[in-house]
């Protein structure tokens, strides 16, 4: 069905199609609309899930973990400070190999108190063992949520998946949305290590260095295996529903002399900047990184790279810029922009490209 919806409502609609057994969540701006809408679906009977209105985000993730350990499909959503409050449990979900799906509406970190878009919140969780995908449209928020369950629950993965959407810029914008009947696209969940009273086992017991080390290596092996599962899932999604996604979305990159790399809605705005630069005769392209974990192999050789980070690691640099340096061997022009919802237009992005200073870092609006 073709309709119009906000990013938040799109995530809720996808959750309705996938029918998790348990949704445990605590509202926080700008995520609130997701959990309100899901609660409404449950109340109206449109969604047959157990909705647990918990007293904190730590409890939200703990409830999802408890449900997931029994083999139940579980979902939650949060934002920034809520994500940090559940940080301990975020690690526990991944270490427990529980295929929980969470939507994180990217929001800045206080203080100063700020409810607008920034990626530092989810990037601070990048080493927890969760898969992370960043979306840029209402449709993509919906599609990625559908796919997240299939990827997380795949037996080659069994790791949780975090869908990230920009606070307000995407969570509250209205765009067209085509909802689908997923049919058997997401098969029933079958957790091989679910609690079974007929076969008692220890969960989260004290684990010595040797076994602990093997568990960690096993997580990394699954993270690497998830690359193929993501590809296969996105291919199957394209076959069934006609929309194709990948680890990156590349726009006019083939012959580009300079490529703008970014995540989320800035990646779409960058496409408009690229069109403008092309009209001026500059061979520019835009690459929007969708999957941050697992981090894909990117070919950015023999061209200039401009990276826009809507995040920062103090004393180190933009997380995306540093990741590209480490993984792709490029020396980018690193632009720090859009923190706390700072307005960044396509004109601004075009000027980053025109005035690029390879190897340097530039804080948009505050440094020269």
């Amino acid at each position: 069905m073709l309709t119009i919806a906000t990013g938040n409502k799109a995530v809720a609609a996808a959750v309705r199609e996938i029918k998790p057994d348990v949704v445990a969540a605590y509202p926080i701006t700008p995520q609130t609309e997701i959990v309100e809408q899901i609660a409404e679906y449950v109340t109206s009977g449109e969604l047959d899930s157990r909705y647990i209105p918990v007293e904190s985000e730590h409890s939200a993730m703990a409830a999802c973990i408890g449900a997931s350990v029994t083999g139940a499909r579980s979902f939650t959503a949060t934002s920034s400070h809520g994500l940090f409050y559940m940080h301990e449990m975020v690690n526990w979900a991944a270490g427990g190999r529980l295929p929980i799906v969470m939507a994180n509406v990217n929001r800045a970190l206080g203080p100063g108190w700020n409810v607008w878009a920034e990626h530092t919140d989810s990037l601070q969780e990048r080493d927890t063992g969760w898969l992370q995908v960043y979306v840029s449209t209402v449709q993509e928020a919906y599609d990625a949520t559908l796919m997240a369950f299939r990827i997380a629950e795949h037996h080659d993965v069994l790791l949780p998946v975090m869908i990230n959407l920009d606070g307000f810029t995407l969570s509250h914008i209205m765009q067209s949305l085509e909802t689908v009947d997923p049919g058997d696209f997401v098969p029933p969940i079958n957790l091989p290590h679910a609690i079974d009273t007929a076969s008692p086992r220890g969960y989260g017991t004290l684990t010595g260095p040797n076994d602990y080390f093997r568990f960690r290596w096993d997580m990394e092996r699954s993270m690497r295996d998830s690359v193929a599962v993501i590809r296969e899932t996105e291919d199957e999604f394209a076959r069934r529903f006609g929309r194709r996604y990948g680890f990156t979305e590349n726009y006019r990159c083939e012959d580009a002399d300079v490529v703008v790399v970014s995540m989320g809605t800035l990646g779409k705005e960058a496409e408009v900047a690229v069109d403008q630069l092309r009209r001026e005769g500059m061979k520019a392209g835009a690459m929007r990184l969708r999957w941050l974990r697992p981090f894909p192999d990117l070919d950015l050789s023999d061209r200039d790279v401009v990276v826009i980070d809507r995040d920062y690691s103090f004393g180190f640099g933009g997380v995306l810029a540093q990741s590209l340096k480490a993984k792709c061997g490029v020396d980018p022009f690193s632009v720090i922009a859009g923190l706390g919802g700072q307005e960044v237009t396509y004109d601004d992005i075009a000027s980053f490209v025109r005035d690029r200073r390879i190897g340097e870092e530039h804080w948009f609006g505050v440094s020269d």
Partner: protein, 175 residues
């Protein structure tokens, strides 16, 4: 791309008006996005929302700098906000007012949306609701079709008075 900026006060329905307008444009077969600018808004504070309408998918997320049309749901915001900022030279203004107002030499349309809302008893928490009547005025201006306005309002509101108010505004606005 046709870009619209809506000025109102928190609680008057400016954000919903933007969503309704995008939905109506979408029902017309266009691409549309509606995005409110969320500040530290509270009831009564000036708020802004944006609508973009185009024949192609819209990839711009940043705020509208030079709108084609400015809609003012509460003319008192003009005392503190420069509603004409960035308005294109050939741009248009639609104002909720009881009498014709000339604004900075721009093509300006005036309509008493508050009067229509009060007449239809569209009042929530003491404030007349302007978001559905304004859609009728926008249809009269040719921004969206009146059929799509009716269907968009019916999709979002079950109360028939909303459609009636939009129809009344459509009839009242003098083009």
């Amino acid at each position: 791309m046709y870009e619209i900026r809506i000025h109102s006060r928190g609680g008057q329905g400016g954000v919903t008006a933007a969503r309704l307008l995008a939905l109506a444009a979408f029902r017309d077969g266009k691409h549309a996005t509606a995005c409110p600018f969320y500040g530290a808004e509270r009831r009564g504070a000036p708020v802004v929302s944006f609508v973009r309408i185009d024949d192609h998918p819209i990839r711009v997320y940043s705020q509208i700098r030079s709108p084609d049309l400015v809609v003012v749901l509460d003319s008192s915001v003009m005392e503190t906000v420069d509603v004409l900022q960035g308005l294109k030279e050939d741009g248009t203004v639609l104002i909720n007012a009881t009498h014709g107002t000339d604004v900075g030499g721009y093509r300006t349309y005036s309509i008493d949306l508050t009067g229509i809302a009060l007449r239809e008893n569209l009042v929530v928490a003491g404030s007349p609701i302007l978001n559905t009547p304004v859609l009728g005025a926008l249809a009269k201006m040719g921004i969206v079709s009146v059929e799509s306005v009716t269907s968009a309002i019916s999709e979002m509101f079950s109360d028939e008075r909303n459609v009636k108010a939009a129809r009344a505004a459509f009839q009242e606005l003098v083009i």
